[in-house]
């Protein structure tokens, strides 16, 4: 499997850039994934609101949140979430939040 390198530490990702082990996630990992996978140079507070909600939801339920919950809890419109993460909630936001690749057509 491929690796990314954060602060001199090698972190394993799958062939599509999702973390192999979600425990490896850290703020710096998110920043690197956002830059390399989504082309986001600087994560804003709004990015972090999305990332933190997804991550905490996942840690609690072992499942990515439905996009409805994401909109409701961040107060963001769906369109704005796609502006924040151009690859969308699954391949964009969930990946940066360190979630494994979801099952299904994604």
């Amino acid at each position: 499997m491929p690796f990314i390198e954060v602060k001199g530490k090698k972190i394993e990702v799958n062939e599509e850039g999702f973390l192999a082990n979600h425990e490896d996630w850290a703020k710096e990992v998110a920043e690197l994934l956002a830059k390399e996978e989504e082309g986001i140079e600087n994560l804003t507070d709004d990015h972090w609101a999305v990332i933190n909600y997804i991550r905490n939801y996942y840690l609690e339920k072992k499942l990515a949140p439905m996009v409805r919950k994401l909109c409701k809890n961040t107060g963001f419109k769906l369109k704005y979430i796609f502006e924040l993460f151009p690859s969308g909630p699954a391949r964009g936001a969930c990946k940066v939040a360190g979630l494994p690749k979801p099952d299904g057509c994604v």
Partner: protein, 442 residues
């Protein structure tokens, strides 16, 4: 280092496992399949039909080579000459090495798109044989992980993303409010579990999970047409990854769920969201898996919307979509499904500039994401490479929007867009049509 679980499983295969796989393969071999396995003359016409071979020119990507992998086993175990003079007829031993090759070529270099079959001079349905070989592997639990887990999630949780019913119902309620705002009518509904309606609309779980605008689009079209229709709070998943993994039993369970919903709701027509393999599975394969004919009609949403336009039940303004649009033909809707002109008819009514990519219709190239490839992460680099021909096709049209009536294709096209920097957006046909709807607000 994370272990490669599939490789470990292959290493642990016992002779009795291999026998079991062979037995399942044998059960699949009806007269038609035996004829296919006995006919290939290695003419090579299929080579240029395959997007994998065109991308990497690797002999292992040749459709005839992939067919030959299955032929070698067929000869060795099920033919007179293969049993007696194996060396002379190209018979091959079914062992761990061969399982590894089957996984790499038959899961990893094929999207079951059927383009090679269409181009075969002898009419061999190569993709049927490849699926039969996948069935043999599935019987001994040798399926690449993301594909297997999507099947498992669907079997365990009722839909392929494991969405709890409550979350699905709440999402529909949320979308209903959005619909009411959009059409300016507080009475606009997205009906749930409404019995006796004309249509039951089955969706892809990724829509409520991550991409709900496609649901809203169809809801808006149904509203404009004054349709009698419903969602179901359970058994609503149009996808069927058993179709890709080769597991017929799982496939039957998933198809059976849509039948259960039809029975529960008493609707006349099962309408399937824009999902290529879901259409092939529910319309063409399900009666085989279930050993029972459907006693209701099965339609793609594309057929339904095309009918609305033809019958003037909805009106579209093509000026609402002024960006140039091209159309991708999902293999399972078009080449393997027979839904060819409906999507074109809809788009010609819904957009101002429509350009065909070439080749198109049943001759179109696969996007590269089918056959379970999007779920099989281990082959994702190969998948992107095999998608280059599709990327080139799109680029040549100069289009800004790629209409694709299949959620699976949309994800692959979105990936290709990023990888090959195409500067396009992939959308469902209904999303485009909904943007052009003229809603009478009186």
């Amino acid at each position: 280092m994370t272990k490669d679980l599939l490789e470990e499983k292959i290493n642990q295969l016992k002779p009795k496992d291999l026998m079991k796989a062979l037995q399942v393969f044998r059960e699949k071999l009806n007269q038609e399949y035996v004829a296919y396995l006995s006919s290939c003359v290695h003419c090579g016409l299929c080579a240029d039909s395959c997007h994998y071979y065109l991308a990497d020119k690797d002999v292992q990507s040749l459709p005839a080579y992939k067919l030959n992998l299955a032929q070698g086993i067929f000869k060795k175990y099920f033919s007179f000459f293969g049993k007696n003079i194996p060396g002379l007829v190209g018979a091959e031993e079914f062992n761990q090495k061969m399982v590894r090759e089957w996984v790499d070529s038959l899961f990893g270099r094929c999207t079951l798109c059927g383009r090679c079959s269409l181009n075969c001079a002898l009419g061999i349905n190569i993709h049927y044989i490849i699926r039969a070989a996948r069935s043999a592997l599935a019987a001994i639990d040798i399926v690449p992980s993301g594909l297997q887990s999507t099947v498992d999630t669907a079997l365990e949780k009722g839909n392929n993303m494991g969405i709890p019913s409550k979350d699905w119902v709440e999402t529909v309620e949320w979308l209903e409010e959005e619909l009411q705002d959009e059409v300016g009518d507080k009475q606009a509904r997205l009906p749930m579990n409404k019995k006796g309606t004309r249509l039951f609309y089955a969706i892809n779980p990724r829509e409520p999970m991550f991409f709900p605008l496609s649901i809203l689009a169809v809801g808006k079209i149904f509203y404009a047409a004054g349709e009698s229709w419903t969602f179901s709070s359970d058994n609503y998943d149009v996808t069927n990854y058993g179709y890709f993994s080769g597991n017929d039993e799982a496939a039957a369970t998933m198809s059976g769920r849509l039948v259960q919903s039809m029975e529960k709701l008493g609707c006349k027509t099962l309408v399937l969201a824009e999902c290529g393999h879901g259409f092939s599975a529910a319309r063409w394969e399900a009666p085989e898996w279930l050993k029972k004919k459907h006693d209701f009609e099965v339609k793609s949403i594309l057929e339904v919307v095309a009918d609305y336009i033809q019958q003037a039940r909805i009106k579209l303004d093509p000026l609402c979509n002024s960006d140039p649009v091209t159309l991708h033909d999902p293999c399972n809707h078009v080449r393997l499904g027979g839904i060819v002109e409906e999507q074109r008819f809809i788009l010609k009514n819904a957009v101002s500039h429509f350009t065909e990519m070439r080749p198109n219709r049943e001759k179109n190239f696969c996007c590269g994401g089918g056959g379970g490839q999007l779920a099989m992460t281990r082959f994702s680099q190969r998948r992107l490479k095999a998608g280059q021909i599709k990327a080139d096709q799109i680029r040549k049209t100069g289009a800004k929007i790629v209409a694709a009536p299949c959620h699976n294709c949309i994800d692959q096209l979105t990936d290709l867009n990023k990888h090959y920097k195409l500067g396009v957006e992939a959308k469902t046909v209904c999303e485009i049509a909904a943007d052009a709807l003229i809603i009478d607000k009186s």
